[in-house]
Amino acid sequence: MSTGMHGVSFRQVSKAYGAVTALRPLDLEIRPGEFLTLLGPSGSGKTTLLNIAAGFLDPDGGQVLIGSRDVTVLPPRARNVGMVFQNYALFPHLSVFENVAYGLRVRRVADTELRARVDMALALVQLGEFGKRAINQLSGGQQQRVALARAMVIEPDLLLMDEPLGALDRQLRKHVQLEIRRLHNEKPRTTIYVTHDQEEALVMSDRVAIMRNGRIEQIGTPLELYDRPRNAYIASFLGESNLLPVQVSDVRGGLAGFRGEGCEGGWSLPDDDDLLRPGPALLLARPEAIRPAAEDAPGLEAVVEETVHLGELVATRLRLGTGQMVWMRRMNAPPHALGQRIRIMWDPARARLLPEEKSP
């Protein structure tokens, strides 16, 4: 049985609602057993894509494949897909046990096997003792775990989750995040997870696809996206970022020369970068890539505006000569006094030049 180990392919999938384009023709390959997160603001098309995968929406064009099976025109019930909804969507008149058993009863699983599988699924989400409870006797976090068990017990070829933690409070959200990741590690199954919460995406995913305006802006592991964002939108969507406006004077031989207010330098382009052109651009330096400049080295003048202690980390807000605010984050560093003038520089190895773009 190769359950849960099918890849998913979207080929040139598109969707419009009247005059509003929800998805531009889009290609996406999800590997067997991969946990992929669609991350983006509302209206970016991530939920549309999820509903097309589930069969709740028909695409205007393109194909959806689960494994090698073309499911584009199949109704949801013929796809063997498990879905977890943001509002749980548990059947209110059925017990916890019967909610989880629903998909197995549809599949006419024999009674003893059904009982065993439901019990196992409930134990997996740590609700072994809750089978007889009514749904409205459970807390939000427990309900979401029942929804998870209900979706997983049918051994779906593909597991879909639509902002499943959106209705939970922050503390619980973190807990269930790790729980979902643990379940995935124990038994990997191909999963598409939709969220607008970057932290969630980073904690749980094998890969993240960042969506905007009905297209995928960039796809990669959380680390790839954080270290090598393709543009300023991605950079500011994932993590905190300082973006300094600069002028790129020339791009030649894999090297870009640039000049900014009080700084200049060269940057060697990575192989996959074909976006940078001479002209205005943005220099990305994460807060942890900023440090005080050495005595005799070049640096930017800055005034300390605010210091925040986060345990061993000290975050410092600095105002540059241009008026722009910049965050610097350092471990175990002596804090600067408010109003102090210092000179700062970025670690050239951890900075990036990005094509200029107005982030929405």
């Binding site: 709740f56 897909v81 909804f85 209110p92």
Partner: protein
């Protein structure tokens, strides 16, 4: 501050009680009239007796009228629940422009003067052989009962989370199973509410009934109307009390079921 609020609320309660009394008292006047021992109607009665009840239940024409009423009301309820529920399910799926037209059509029997409906039904039932039959009368009553079923079930359907249907479909359920296991349990409160209204509407309907009941389906309200034109005996008050009592019992029972189901379904009743 709170004292002033209290006083105002007491005044409000008194006013409310008076309005209620104004609405309800005339209806309940038939109850003391029915236990009057005299052979004419007098309120309050000088002496009490249940002899008119004996006469009511001893008279075959009254009892058969009561039985006819019950039969017609049960049939009308079944017809309107089946047709009305199907209609509500269909209407829910219409695009919004068509939906308001469809709802308007379903509600139209409540707006068109009943006398007009009665006259046309008189012709129609005569020409298709349903005149004077319980089925014909029940079908006619269904016209007036349908709006209640469609509205009540419609409210329940609106409260049904579309994700529940999707969840069931995603778990592999076909349309019939989705209806049986998800939609139907969710609309039971609306269905019971609509059915209660339907039964009561048919049970005390008089205008249409006068036109098409004939001899074969003479209902209690028709018999009552005929009786009162001849002579106003306390038996008429008994008949009225029977109708009143049955109606009230049904409403209380219907409400009970509705609230219970609604509580079990975790939603508010469609009908409170």
């Amino acid at each position: 501050m709170s004292g002033r609020y209290q006083r105002r609320s007491i005044l409000g309660e008194i006013a409310g009680a008076l309005v209620l009394a104004f609405l309800v008292m005339p209806i309940f006047a038939v109850v003391p009239a029915s236990v009057n021992s005299a052979s004419f109607i007098k309120i309050p009665p000088e002496a009490y007796s249940v002899r008119w009840y004996g006469q009511f239940f001893g008279d075959a024409s009254w009892v058969s009228a009561l039985a006819n009423s019950a039969e017609v009301a049960v049939l009308a309820t079944v017809f309107s629940v089946v047709i009305g529920t199907s209609a509500a399910l269909g209407i829910e799926r219409l695009p919004s422009a068509l939906r308001s037209i469809a709802v308007g059509l379903v509600l139209s029997p409540l707006i068109v003067p009943v006398i007009m409906i009665s006259i046309s039904l008189y012709y129609v039932t005569r020409s298709i052989g349903l005149y004077g039959t319980p089925v014909g009368l029940a079908l006619s009553h269904s016209l007036l009962c349908l709006p209640f079923v469609v509205l009540n079930v419609g409210v329940s359907l609106k409260r049904l989370d579309p994700n529940l249907v999707r969840a069931a479909e995603g778990l592999g359920a076909g349309p019939w199973r989705v209806f049986r296991t998800v939609t139907f349990p969710a609309i039971v409160p609306g269905l019971v509410g609509g059915a209660t209204f339907a039964f009561v509407t048919s049970f005390d309907e008089v205008v249409i009934s006068i036109f098409i009941a004939g001899y074969g389906a003479k209902t209690l309200p028709v018999k009552l109307w005929e009786q009162i034109r001849v002579e106003f005996t306390p038996v008429a008050a008994v008949a009225s009390t029977v109708i009143l009592g049955l109606t009230m019992v049904l409403f209380v029972l219907g409400r009970r079921v509705t609230m219970k189901k609604a509580a079990a379904a975790g939603t508010e009743g469609a009908w409170r």
